[in-house]
């Protein structure tokens, strides 16, 4: 007998998504998702990160029951996923990558259709549709057919569509793909707003998006989940003694500086994009002293310092490090 009956269930209740050994093999040929164990805490903004073809979209489609797992199982709020798991889908708002929408409909007609699919009564549906269209900035396009919409407008409508039923879990697949900067900013701000009341899973390969909005992260590579945890833990994995120095001056001077700085004890340098110098300070060395030595060299050289960043691109570096480690493990994977 467990000393705390139901304690395990309590922990499970805190999870929005849980998968156990989830596997999807297409036609006995392609392994899209490989023995994946994933836990997404309720109320988190979870970034599902991975290169193209890593299995992110397949994972989302397995959760929605659009595809059947070859092995393992997936649960959303404690309920098993599957093609007829209507109660699971009623908890999920899904935004596909570049959503394919019925072009012959107008936005209100489309959202009304989706509202009816979610069994929302008219008195709830109608005001919500107008509120959503206003929120995504499509109020001025309500008389246009969807086939005349740009990619950005389709994504905005897709976002509204995923929110029609006001679900507690959002699965957004590449929500910023093909968006211009302002639309991208709008989407990211919306996610920040939604995190207050919902669990959001964002599948993407755009690291800066993850960096800005996510508090938890799962990294997928070749169908496998190679890392899950908080963003903080992910960044801690990275070597801590990195600085990026943005310089102004001739490229040759920057390269000379890099060579000179590399001669300093415990300092390693790399020139990045011509004008940026990445300085790595070995463990055990004083960061301030080493950095001061490098700054002296800059001062002595024909260069001016524009900015210093500590831990810049930490997520990107940590992500690349994870991928490299995963590939290096080879058979042991």
């Amino acid at each position: 007998m467990s000393p705390h009956p139901g304690a395990g269930e309590e922990v499970r209740m805190e999870l929005a998504i849980r998968t156990e050994h989830l596997t999807k093999i297409y036609s006995q040929r392609l392994i899209a998702v490989n023995d994946m164990n994933l836990e997404v805490p309720r109320g988190s903004v979870f970034g599902l990160l991975g290169p193209n073809g890593a299995g992110k979209t397949t994972t989302l489609r397995l959760l929605l029951g659009l595809q059947r797992p070859t092995a393992g199982q997936a649960q959303v709020f404690g309920k098993s996923c599957g093609p007829n798991a209507v109660s699971v889908r009623s908890q999920i708002g899904y935004l596909p990558t570049n959503p394919k929408l019925p072009g012959n409909l107008r936005p209100i007609e489309y959202l009304d259709l989706l509202g009816r699919l979610s069994r929302l009564p008219g008195e709830v549906r109608k005001p919500r549709i107008s509120a959503l269209l206003r929120a995504v900035g499509l109020l001025g396009a309500t008389d246009q057919r969807i086939q005349t919409f740009s990619t950005g407008m389709c994504t905005r409508l897709g976002i509204a569509a995923s929110l029609v039923a006001d679900p507690p879990l959002l699965l957004w697949d590449e929500p910023t793909a093909g968006l211009d900067p302002s639309a991208r900013r709008f989407t990211l701000e919306l996610i920040r707003e939604l995190r207050k009341t919902k669990t959001v899973v964002v599948a993407t390969h755009i690291l800066s998006d993850i960096d800005q909005i996510c508090d938890h992260l799962g990294v997928m590579h070749e169908g496998r989940m190679i890392y899950t945890g908080s963003m903080q833990d992910m960044k801690l994995r990275l070597r801590q003694h990195d600085f990026t120095l943005e310089l102004e001056g001739e490229a040759e001077d920057v390269r000379r500086l890099a060579r000179e700085a590399a001669n300093l004890k415990g300092v390693d340098t790399t020139v990045d994009a011509g004008q940026a110098l990445l300085v790595r300070i070995a463990e055990g060395r004083s960061r301030s002293r080493s950095l001061a030595d490098v700054l002296k060299l800059i001062d002595a050289g024909n260069l001016s310092l524009q900015a210093i960043h500590s831990g810049q691109n930490a997520t990107e570096n940590a992500y690349l490090q994870l991928l490299q480690e995963d590939e290096a493990h080879g058979f042991h994977r």
């Binding site: 059947r68 889908r89 009623s90 596909p96 989706l114 009816r116 699919l117 039923a165």
Partner: protein
């Protein structure tokens, strides 16, 4: 109060089904195929009525109007309409838009199937019913016929049932094969030699040609008439009339005047199927229709989107 609550509960439960049904009907109605089909059906019906106005008796003329639905060319349109919902490029839109919502696959399939059946039957009835009323009520320079209301209703029902079966067959093939063009080609190769296929199972009486041949007899049946009695009434005239219908149908297109008495091709010579049992035909087409919908649902359920 209780019944209102019950009705509203059923209404809420049926909401996704009704939403998909209405959406599909609207999409189908706005498609060129359906509009062209409706126009062509009206035109062909007018041509057939006009060309045979002074030649055929009521029963024969009505049977000739039903010929395009049972044999050629509307079979093709009905099959294409049945094939499309879960195949081809629609699948992605479908997955993104509808199946990722709280809708079961069976609900979706049943709604899209119903939409197609309702649309096909609507186009068929909207054109054929006024044409039949016109033929029955107008004074034409032909001898009086003994067409009954029961006969008309059962004949319309049988043709409607065959059309429903064709939609369901298209639906099943489209679900199984995924590629709409391939599904249509397969259906053409299956449906046109259907008489041969049915003869293997000694079920020739269910072939569309046999049914069309028996329609004029059916039209003259009364409510209380038994199958046996009706069989006695079936006469050689109907077989001749059917041959006339076929030759006349094609002559409408070729603008060649129909011969007053066409010679009977060997295929249509037999008098074996000048009558049919409505019950047997209902079972013969109804059960395969239900089987096709169930098989399509199972196949769709196991399918990845």
């Amino acid at each position: 109060m209780d019944s209102t609550a019950k009705t509203s509960k059923i209404g809420t439960r049926m909401m996704p089904y009704m939403a998909i049904l209405q959406h599909d009907m609207k999409t189908l109605w706005s498609s060129r195929l359906v509009r062209l089909w409706l126009g062509a059906t009206v035109l062909l019906t007018l041509l057939l009525v006009g060309a045979n106005w002074a030649n055929f008796q009521d029963g024969t003329l009505i049977a000739s109007l039903l010929f395009p639905y049972l044999v050629f060319p509307w079979f093709f349109v009905v099959v294409v309409l049945g094939v499309t919902p879960v195949s081809g490029s629609r699948t992605e839109t479908l997955a993104d838009g509808i199946l990722s919502r709280p809708v079961s696959r069976f609900e979706y399939l049943l709604a899209t199937w119903s939409a197609r059946v309702v649309l096909v039957l609507s186009v068929y009835l909207v054109v054929i019913v006024p044409a039949i009323v016109l033929v029955m009520l107008a004074k034409r320079p032909v001898p009086e016929d003994t067409v009954t209301v029961y006969g008309i209703v059962t004949a319309l029902f049988v043709v409607g049932l065959v059309l429903t079966f064709l939609v369901s067959l298209g639906f099943l093939t489209g679900t199984l094969l995924r590629k709409p063009l391939l599904a249509v080609v397969v259906l053409i190769f299956v449906w046109y030699p259907i008489g041969l296929i049915l003869s293997v199972f000694s079920l020739e009486e269910f072939s569309p040609i046999s049914l069309n041949r028996a329609i004029s007899t059916q039209l003259r049946r009364s409510w209380r008439e038994t199958d046996e009695k009706a069989k006695d009434n079936a006469n050689v005239q109907d077989a001749d009339a059917f041959t006339d219908q076929v030759s006349n149908f094609f002559s409408v297109f070729s603008s060649v005047q129909p011969k007053p008495k066409a010679s009977k091709p060997d295929f249509f010579e037999g008098e074996k199927f000048d009558d049919f049992s409505v019950f047997r035909v209902t079972l013969g087409y109804g059960l395969p229709t239900i089987a096709a919908v169930i098989l399509a649902s199972l196949c769709f359920y196991w399918r990845d989107m």
